[in-house]
């Protein structure tokens, strides 16, 4: 329970820090204090002074962030400057598609990556299999997600498949190393000597002993997937949070970017916390 509370506190602190850091960056980013209305020759000196005072108050980091947090408690995340729409609405409209893609992408990547890793680790004497799979993984790792997205778009392949192609080699390489390490331990040799079947060795011993690191890898793969979804959705022009983040960056929609930063920080730190809460060894609680 204590660990759970500590992790929740850590998530909250990191999310707030990420939000505050974005607010500081936003305040000091070039052009923040510039208002196009100031160029309007019809504006009187008094109006200009009032506009500047308003803008300075809006851009006060401490007060602005507290004001934002109060609004966020009521579900008001502010207004997108590029779309003139409530940010909460934009997030709720775009989140389902991205979540669905992330779900399919992660499931596919884990099925493919772990499946290949099991094959390679189980038959690690097979030079041909190891070389073929490693070469495919290496080629996929050598291409940026945006390029893979473009190639898949040209070939008419679904967006989710691009995410799978981006994540599979990463999941494969990490899990193969874990499984090869687990297969190399002496208790596996002992189990073989006692005539235990390979299937039982795999599920009862190898996967079990690699489980804690695999849990950490699940969290890391979620972070990787969130990073990859931005170029994929942007290149494939698929509606979702990734494309929203890219469009916000291109139009310098800083309020939207701050909200996305906090949302993504929350998801990533929560995933990391869940991985850390996983038992260190099978059957052992932390």
């Amino acid at each position: 329970m204590k660990t759970l509370v500590t992790q929740l506190g850590r998530i909250l602190a990191l999310v707030l820090l990420a939000g505050l850091a974005s607010a500081v960056l936003m305040r000091w980013s070039p052009g923040t204090l510039v208002d196009e209305r100031e160029l309007d020759p019809r504006m009187s000196q008094e109006t200009l002074t009032a506009l500047r005072a308003n803008r300075a108050a809006e851009n006060s980091i401490g007060a602005g962030f507290v004001h934002y947090l109060k609004g966020a408690m009521r579900g008001d995340l502010g207004e997108s400057t590029s779309r003139n729409a409530p940010i909460a609405d934009l997030l709720t409209q775009n989140a389902p598609a991205t979540l669905r893609r992330l779900g399919i992408g992660l499931a596919g990547a884990w099925l493919g990556g772990l499946g290949m890793a099991i094959l390679v680790a189980r038959f690690r004497q097979s030079w041909l299999l190891e070389s073929a799979v490693s070469m495919t993984a290496g080629t996929l790792l050598s291409l940026p997600a945006a390029v893979l997205a473009y190639f898949c778009l040209t070939a008419g392949i679904a967006v989710e498949t691009v995410l799978i192609l981006v994540l599979v080699p990463r999941v494969f390489r990490f899990s193969r190393n874990l499984l090869v390490q687990a297969y190399g331990s002496s208790h596996i040799d002992m189990a073989r000597a006692r005539g235990i079947s390979e299937t039982r060795i795999l599920f009862g011993h190898v996967l079990r002993s690699a489980a804690p690191q695999m849990a950490a890898l699940v969290a890391a793969s979620l972070s990787m997937a969130v990073g990859a979804i931005i170029p994929i959705e942007a290149i494939c022009d698929a509606a979702g949070l990734g494309r929203l983040a890219w469009q916000a960056a291109m139009s310098r929609d800083l309020p939207l970017l701050v909200n996305l930063t906090m949302l993504i920080a929350m998801v990533a730190t929560a995933a990391m916390a869940i991985a850390e809460l996983a038992p260190l060894r099978p059957g052992e609680s932390s």
């Binding site: 983040a245 960056a249 291109m250």
Partner: protein
């Protein structure tokens, strides 16, 4: 493992060949990356233009070679910057311990709580987008260097931590060696292999990151070529009718693949 050596040798030879070609592009093409040949707009590959020309009549081969120079020269520069920051921050945390160490670890956690590409995208967006090519070059690679130190800093901190409590450091301290001499003669030489490994791991990661930023329109501005800005042509082009426009992607994959062969790592950045 027996086949790893020839593969690594091949990778080194290939990278050297690419590096020399990028340093001396005139070996392959007489044109500059910005020369616009109005009589040869969108020309297909020929003896004069091995990769054809783009919509503005610029020799793609020249742009690819100059772009390779930009990417291959600045990715190591950004990696060096990242390693320097990591050495400073990680070294300070490892040596000082206590609150300094906890603060550094908290800031590392903060940086690492966000996917790196998203962080890059956000910070890049907060800086001016409509800038000269040289400024965009500085911003892109400067950001890569300044935003990627946390993972390396954590490794350096761990290394310094282990060294701090080692027998030879204790002995040096007991012999009255000054802190500066201890750092320069004992700690830095012992941490150097760790930093060198981090440096070589970062180079291909930065090459890929620049390519992604470039494809998203947040990298190096035109007319200066880089692999990222050249890959943008894929979006407007027709890959089936003009397969040669994929040349930057092929070269990028080959170069990063060679780095992988020489310095294997599980996770290359997205």
């Amino acid at each position: 493992m027996k086949s790893a050596r020839p593969a690594q040798l091949f990778a080194i030879v290939f990278l050297t060949f690419v590096g020399i070609s990028a340093l001396v592009p005139r070996l392959w093409t007489p044109d500059s990356y910005e020369t616009q040949l109005r009589e040869a707009l969108d020309a297909p590959p020929s003896a004069r233009f091995p990769l054809g020309t783009d919509a503005l009549g610029r020799d793609r081969m020249a742009r690819l070679l100059y772009g390779t120079r930009v990417s291959l020269a600045l990715a190591p520069a950004a990696a060096l910057l990242s390693c320097l920051v990591a050495a400073l921050v990680g070294g300070l945390a490892g040596l000082a311990g206590g609150w300094t160490e906890r603060t550094v670890l908290a800031s590392v956690d903060l940086f690492m709580s966000l996917p790196w590409l998203f962080l890059l995208l956000t910070v890049r967006a907060m800086l001016p987008l409509n800038v000269s090519p040289l400024v965009s070059l500085g911003i892109t690679f400067g950001l890569l260097g300044l935003l990627s130190w946390p993972a390396s800093a954590r490794v350096v901190r761990a290394a310094i931590h282990a060294l701090r409590d080692s027998d030879f450091i204790l002995q040096a301290r007991a012999s009255g060696v000054t802190p500066w001499r201890l750092i320069s003669r004992q700690l830095i030489p012992n941490v150097m292999p760790v930093l060198l490994a981090q440096f070589w791991i970062a180079v291909p990661v930065f090459i890929l990151a620049e390519a992604t930023l470039g494809m998203l329109g947040l990298g190096v501005s035109e007319p200066l070529p880089s692999w990222g800005s050249m890959l943008r042509e894929l979006e407007g082009g027709n890959l089936r009718a003009q397969p040669w426009i994929a040349a930057p992607a092929v070269l990028l994959a080959a170069v990063v693949g060679c780095f992988q062969l020489i310095f294997p790592r599980e996770d290359y950045s997205i």
